[in-house]
Symmetry: C2
Subunit: 235 residues, 2 copies
């Protein structure tokens, strides 16, 4: 078999920035690294790409190892290729961000992989350039969420408007007028109001909504402006 024999070959890794939302707080899934180098330090979930799998397959495999979940919302973000980003051996990392419903497996996670949900506001020091990856991921979901309805991926199938607003406010680090917010969100036609309420958050209770999946998939690429002033994305 013909080969490009003179060329250097590189280690390829995939790193996943996994976001979750518990109805109150935006969180990242981090692990205590189980092997050297940087054993026991906080890290994103990552792993080496195998010879037989594509990048997307690698990302999905790694995410499944971490969370047990398949079919998670996963999007390639950026490839990090500074020559000395891994002190042991040069490794190029293809980063992905994932948005998952935190409730779907709050438990199995930490048991199997020493993983933990950490509030985005209190991310510890991370290994290598993972800090930089997290920063870019925050920026990326803000950017994308300003234009597309991706944040629903973070919510359970039934959710309330106050929860949704809370999520948007967390992602954009802004407070939004609730009258205008509900107008905008409902105007998308993406939400179906259910007849029962979530009584957990208040005495009165808040009506549950669910996504109109038809419209959700149809309009996913469309621009949907939920955020008042997109200039908040500037950073």
């Amino acid at each position: 078999m013909l080969k490009y024999s003179k060329q250097t070959r590189f280690l390829l890794a995939v790193d996943c920035i996994v976001f979750g939302f518990d109805g109150e707080t935006l969180k990242l899934l981090l692990i205590k690294r189980a092997f050297n180098p940087e054993k026991d330090k906080w890290s994103l979930m990552g792993g080496f790409v195998q010879a037989t799998e594509s990048l997307d397959q690698a990302a999905n495999r790694i995410l499944k190892q971490l969370t047990g979940l398949e079919g998670v919302y996963l999007e390639q973000m950026y490839s990090f290729g500074e020559t000395s980003r891994d002190p042991i051996e040069r490794t190029v990392s293809v980063s992905y961000f994932a948005l998952i419903d935190i409730h779907k497996y709050e438990k199995q996670i930490s048991a199997d992989f020493h993983a933990e949900w950490v509030p985005l506001k209190r991310i510890p020091k991370l290994i290598f350039d993972h800090q930089e990856m997290v920063e870019l991921a925050k920026k990326s979901i803000r950017y994308k969420a300003a234009l597309h309805p991706i944040l629903f991926e973070l919510l359970p199938s039934r959710f309330t408007l106050p929860q949704l607003q809370n999520l948007y406010e967390s992602v954009f680090n802004a407070s939004i007028d609730k009258r205008n917010f509900s107008k905008r969100v409902l105007a998308t036609g993406l939400l179906i109001k259910l007849t029962d309420k979530d009584k957990a958050g208040s005495k009165r209770g808040a009506f549950y909504y669910q996504l109109n999946m038809q419209k959700y998939y149809a309009n996913f690429q469309a621009f949907i402006n939920i955020i008042p002033n997109p200039d908040s994305l500037q950073n």
Copy 2:
């Protein structure tokens, strides 16, 4: 030195989708591949990442080889990692798109590298998955240009409003009302009207403008809406 000894290593390539605009037509810079496999077939400009350079450095090096230019607008786009995208040996390609002022070196290009400017509407069959890269690049610049003033990178330092409008219309494959277009563009405050005219395109001549570089760099991240209906980005 410690190594991740058990892991597979991969060839890493960089491929550049280079856009140019001659005042009339949007074009891509393509080359006739000089080596096997697929010798003499049309291809994007690419090359293998070297052991001592970062991904960005590789992209800049390759772009310089092709165009002789440095300091070109270059942005990492996406990493392609299907296992058999290169039939010879598995290669992961990190793609970049570049926006250049076509006039800066219309000539030296084709001489040195068998490169040619090809109208975007008439791209020939390309090797490997380069077709897919081009499609993604078209989509990416459309997306980005709808929100940020990147298209100025395609224009010479002095340009006219009709040229600029033509560029936007080419990128978005749409026609825009010229009164509304000039209002929007001028409202950004990014343009400085010069006192002389370009007499090439019409009898009356069109005034030259240049970028206010201060504002350009300051507002680059800001959202600038020049495109009437961003839903045209849906595809």
